[in-house]
């Protein structure tokens, strides 16, 4: 059973050394018009290069661009679609992080790739394959305000975002992305809408080409949804183990028909995860997982942690796998 080490998605774009704060300074300079967009972009690229390197050095198999260019996981994609305006700040789940809320003001239309260039430029500087992460249509819809009369309700907004994301995924696969992660944290708050998410993913999956699709859930207990998720049209399922007492047992008992992204490293707390505890879960669950490869990752993106701790968490992932391999 192959177990790859994968960064979840976001990564701290700032650290405590002056060099690691260059993006923060550049952001302010760019806002004041003191540097051009091109100069600002070059600094973003250099930060992506730095963190991609950091992930590779920690021993990861799959890296991300850390969403360094994103304002937040909601407005980055939604805000680049026709028909969407961006509103004020809104708290992102139970974090102390705030997103800008999209307003569906008119017909939602995909104007062209949003993430393809980001993927290409990250891959160009990365020694390891880059995993692409995009927020799914259901979560985008849940954070959106409906103003336009073109859409009547939540399912119709989900369908509109699904159209756009289907095209995006098709473009990403064509650009060579081999693993595309769709984040749907909102589904855990509204398990009754699982059917809606499944239908949306079916449409997206129909255009994924040769890319693998990973559905990532987090910020909630996925155990109640576990059985229905097994029938979703994706290659792998991602779980946040920090909110659930039963999930590890459930996987060990029921097994999984799909590969699993084990979010066993706590992405929300600086405490170092215990290798022994993680090993116990992996040793019980992995033999029951049918899809391959599976992934060891954090419970959510690492941007909720300070940079030094995020880096230590990546190293801990590598230590867990080394220990696992050592025990055969």
């Amino acid at each position: 059973m192959e177990l790859l080490l994968a960064n979840h998605g976001s990564y701290p774009r700032i650290g405590d050394s002056p060099g690691q704060q260059r993006l923060r300074r550049a952001y302010a300079q760019h806002e004041r018009g003191e540097i051009t967009s091109k100069e600002f972009d070059a600094i973003q690229t250099s930060m992506i290069q730095e963190i991609v390197q950091e992930q590779a050095e920690a021993g990861l198999d799959l890296v991300t661009d850390g969403q360094i260019r994103w304002y937040d996981p909601i407005s980055h994609f939604a805000g680049r679609l026709d028909g969407i305006k961006i509103n004020g700040l809104l708290r992102f789940f139970d974090t102390n992080f705030y997103i800008r809320q999209p307003v569906v003001a008119d017909q939602v239309l995909w104007k062209g790739p949003v993430l393809v260039e980001e993927y290409r430029s990250a891959q160009a500087v990365s020694p390891k394959p880059v995993k692409v992460v995009v927020t799914g249509p259901y979560t985008l819809a849940r954070f959106s305000i409906l103003e336009s009369s073109r859409y009547r309700d939540l399912p119709e907004i989900v369908a509109a975002y699904t159209d756009a994301l289907t095209k995006e995924v098709e473009a990403l696969a064509a650009a060579g992305a081999t693993l595309i992660q769709i984040d749907e944290p909102s589904i855990l708050q509204h398990p009754g809408d699982a059917g809606l998410v499944k239908a949306a993913l079916s449409r997206i999956a129909s255009r994924k080409g040769r890319a693998r699709l990973l559905l990532a859930t987090y910020f909630g207990d996925a155990a109640p949804l576990y059985e229905s998720l097994q029938a979703f049209p994706v290659d792998a399922l991602g779980f946040d183990f920090t909110y659930s007492r039963d999930l590890a047992d459930l996987i060990a008992r029921r097994g999984s028909d799909k590969a699993i992204a084990f979010g066993l490293i706590d992405g929300r707390n600086t405490r170092m995860d215990r290798t022994e505890e993680i090993l116990l879960i992996l040793q019980r669950a992995l033999p029951k997982v049918k899809g391959s490869p599976s992934y060891l990752t954090s419970s959510c993106g690492l941007e909720y942690l300070p940079r030094d701790k995020a880096q230590l968490k990546l190293k801990r992932m590598a230590a867990v796998r080394a220990e696992l391999a050592g025990r055969g």
Partner: protein, 335 residues
């Protein structure tokens, strides 16, 4: 019932007692002084002098506006959690974490047993109360919010971290009561973020308030209150400050299912808006509350701390709030 409790504590308030949520904008001279102090360009003594001057300004301003229950304005606090975590043993500061856009902050980390370090707010409370005859509230950040806004490397889980913080914060409440504070507000803006954790947040509040002779207010500004409303009635406090005056919730329905059993602070000013609401707007918001609850249970305040507004905006909003309250008091035949 709460009115009787206040009387018992020697506090007599008019119908629709007016108050504020705690923080006021810092005057320019204080903002500058804080920046200089951060760069070690001035001494702590010099900063404290200006903090006292600003506190006195706000006490006088609140009296002029006509507020009934005053606050010290938190001129000496930056962040509502960091103020306490920087004073309490058991905490360290993390590296920078982003909150949105280009905004970053140092998040507290619990690295050892959290302890009460001795009085943290008494000096400021005494100073403020010494400037006025009206009651000044004691103001503390609650254990659940301190826990939720901190990393936890020491306690085995969130509940035990929260309860340990509650025991430490109770000590501060005890000395506030000893010093003479009769009304104490506990700020718990994080209270509704994980509804499944409300039982231990309530348990923590028992540790903070049980058996202490004071009128307790809990301020919880962000709200998924529909999910947790009926449980919130179990909080061992006298007054819930919920900032629901312009919420879209069907409060009528919620209150019919579970009758409201405490005093309610209505939160009738939108602190996030620059607009100074007209007295008629404020009055309409109060009247909305009056449809839900008898007037004896209602307190009037802004929906959160006013620290993000300018001094003039804050004053203008509060003046209009009091204008609306005066009309309603006159109409209901009380004063």
């Amino acid at each position: 019932m709460s009115r009787a409790k206040l009387k018992g504590l020697g506090i007599d308030l008019p119908t629709f007692p007016t108050s504020t949520v705690g923080s006021f904008p810092k005057p320019d001279y204080l903002v500058e002084a804080r920046a200089k102090f951060a760069k070690a360009k001035i001494e702590r003594k010099e900063l404290e002098e200006l903090e006292r001057r600003a506190t006195a300004f706000w006490i006088k301003t609140q009296e002029e506006i006509g507020l009934d229950v005053l606050v010290d304005g938190e001129m000496y606090r930056g962040d509502m959690v960091a103020y306490f975590s920087e004073l309490m043993p058991g905490f360290e500061q993390s590296g920078l974490v982003r909150s949105y856009g280009n905004r970053y902050y140092h998040k507290p980390i619990i690295v050892g047993e959290v302890q009460w370090p001795g009085p943290m707010t008494i000096g400021w409370w005494r100073y403020a109360q010494g400037l006025t005859k009206r009651p000044v509230k004691g103001m503390l950040t609650g254990p659940y919010t301190v826990m939720d806004w901190s990393f936890n490397e020491y306690y085995p889980d969130r509940r035990s971290a929260c309860l340990a913080l509650a025991r430490a914060i109770r000590r501060e409440v005890e000395v506030l009561v000893e010093a003479g504070a009769k009304i104490i507000q506990i700020d718990e803006p994080a209270l509704s973020v994980r509804p499944e954790e409300l039982p231990f947040a309530i348990e923590a509040m028992h540790l903070v308030t049980d058996g202490l002779p004071a009128y307790f207010i809990i301020h919880a500004c962000y709200g998924a209150f529909d999910a947790i409303y009926s449980q919130m009635l179990k909080l061992p406090v006298d007054n819930l400050d919920l900032a629901i005056s312009h919420s879209t919730l069907n409060l009528m329905e919620m209150f019919r299912r579970d009758p409201f059993t405490k005093d309610l602070s209505l939160g009738v000013l939108d602190v996030h808006s620059h607009e100074v609401e007209a007295p008629e707007t404020v009055r309409a918001r109060i009247e909305k509350g009056l449809k839900l609850l008898p007037k004896e249970l209602i307190w009037i305040d802004p929906d959160c701390g006013l620290k993000t507004r300018t001094v003039e905006e804050a004053r203008g909003k509060l003046v209009n709030m009091l204008a609306a309250v005066k009309v309603l008091r006159a109409e209901s035949g009380v004063n």
